[in-house]
Amino acid sequence: MSAALATAPLRRPISPGLPRPEPVRAPRIEIAPVRAQRLARPRVAYAGTVVAGIGALMIAQLALSIALSDGAYTIDRLETTQKEQARSVQQLTEDLGRLASPQNLAKNAEALGMVQNANPVWLRMSDGAVIGTPAAAAGGSGVLAAGGSQVANDLLNGVPLVTEVSADATGAATAAAATPVQPAAPLADPELPLQGLPAPATR
């Protein structure tokens, strides 16, 4: 867009032979914009668009930031839950560990009246042969037997035997947790028949 173009039509033609016009005050002149220039002129609408755009961006950013910090609270809450869950997993694992300890199992087995046979005898499944010399286990011949557990386990303090728990369930259920482990007498209910193990009738 050149100045030449814009000013060209404004030059007066100079005709030869005519008397030189008197110098007059130059008329006020104005630059007439071409069509392209007219189109390029900024309008209010554009300004509005830009402002609205920036506004939208700011709102979006604000919304994003709100969402993000809301996410932070969600994460925080979930992390807390996760920690709590991890703690209960740890607690249950510890409980399981102490209950699965051989001291506890043996004590409970013997409290339930189980005995061990120190005399190993094998039954060969293929031909039903008995290898070894079978002999009945004596009553009360548990590994712990009369001496009680000789292998300490500090974690088992206050853990009741299953026999104590079941006796407790029928009676007062409150005192069990606090009472220390006591060597319970083997359960021998005189009312129960000793023979007749529950066995499935398979044919």
């Binding site: 740890q90 560990g97 051989p102 070894g132 712990l144 292998v151 300490a152 500090d154 974690l155």
Partner: protein, 584 residues
Amino acid sequence: MTRRSARRRIALSALLLVAILGTFLIRLVDIQVVHADALNAQAEDKRSIPQVILGERGDIFDSTGVLLADSVLRYDITASPKYAVTSTDVPPETAAEQLAPIVGVPAAKLVKVLRDAVAENPDSDYAYLAKKVDAQQFEQVRALGIPWVYYEAHAGRTYPNGAVAGNLLGFVGSQNEAQAGVELADDSCLAGTDGSEVYERSADDVRIPGSTVVTTPAVDGRDLILTIDRDLQWFVQQTLASYAKKFGAKWGTVVVQEVKSGKLLAVADYPSVDPNNVNATVQSPDPALGSRAFTAPFEPGSTFKTLTAASLLDARLVTPATHVLAPYRFTTPDGADVNDSEYHGDMSLTLTGVLKESSNTGLSQLGLRMTPEQRYAYMRAFGLGARTEVDFGAEATGDLNSGPDWDAQSNLATMFGQGLTVTAVQMASIYQTIGNGGVRLPVSLVAGCRLADGTLTDTPATEGTRVISATAARETVDMLENVATKGWLADQVAIPGYRLATKTGTAQQPDGHGGYTKSYLVSLAGIAPADDPQYVVSVSLADPVKMNTSGAAAPIFHDVTTQVLKQFGVVPSGSSSPDLPTNY
């Protein structure tokens, strides 16, 4: 308005502007340059919270995958005394009443802690209410929601099986630092390294997203796998402790070793430590915090005759049927003087008979067929006088008493296990070598260090060394079978259906001043089943005052061996022990 006054006003404004700008500039430089570091640090302190990421200590498992030592979190309950005493919502007395039943500390004591702290320092902001409470107690305390109570998590250690293998595992201290046993010996495998992170926190204690910076990542420790079988270890400890109490023994050990791998399946000590409560052991009259089987060498006595006999057989200097006339007392020209434990007339014994009768005089005569240097070389080859491959903490080497330059008396005494010391594990290793056809395998207690991806590192050496010939080893086992079937403890030791090879020992213990005390170390070592040796069981009881003979070790050996055969499913072979002549 004159032009002059206007100019003055402009100048004044400019001056003012410069002055204000200058002030800002100076302040800006002051903040941004001069005090920048200090202010930055202050700001960081306000917002960013450094935090330790705990590197978890590895777990310890037995050979079957049972957890023996577990890393857990424990919590210290702390309080801010200055806020506690001024709190109107929850005064110390009310809180203490609620806390006391949970943490197991008397309420009065909790209140006293808080009041004392404030009395000493009115600004006191930190006091311990309870240390190392578990997760359950922690949750209960947290649920109370006392505003001036705080918490700190620590790495802790728990041993679910208590004293089972406690002697081997060892324990950790209050800062979770390894103090004994494999915890200490294999600390490089187990120990984790704490990391650290920094994050920024909003006013309401919520972590600002994206602000976490891990400055040092935490490295978890690796798991340690032992060769021990938890159930067998428990059975052996229970059995040993029962009999040791019955016979009034001071201490005792039982070692169960697998013949064909050299792995220790059970190493029981009496008394033993419960790593969950080390203090209880420390306060006991004769505390044993480690494993005497590794750390307490003793004069073994007659169980050692097996080694001498096996050496003689390997050197082809004798056969199981070699004749020797065994008197009650035997003296040598250079001044050695040995006798048997009980008076007897001259006995016409074979080498088998010498072992069966456990004759010192018979064995001394046969042993003299070998030079001290030769015998010493055999002892070293059997692994004596050196720590085993286990390299347990404070493991003893045993003392071969300046061999092979023994004096005349020691030269004979060392043939039947006096005048030298071995550990219980070394003794088991001797029988392992003989059971394994003369090839000694490295003794192992740790099967390896397990990385997170499951690969095992630091696995023990498995290459054996031949100590004696396969023939000599088999002949030795045959002779020991005759000891088991014909010896004086035959009835107590026998397990119906199985062939056993055993040797007893009753060794007088030195008094530390060159003489011997009246206390004995009774022992019984054996191999089962003898027809296809798989397990070594070695029992030692120190000073069983109620039964001063190896008869005290016999029931332990019997019960433990039975359990071993049962647990590992060893089926009776049906063959019977060879019948070797013991007399001529």
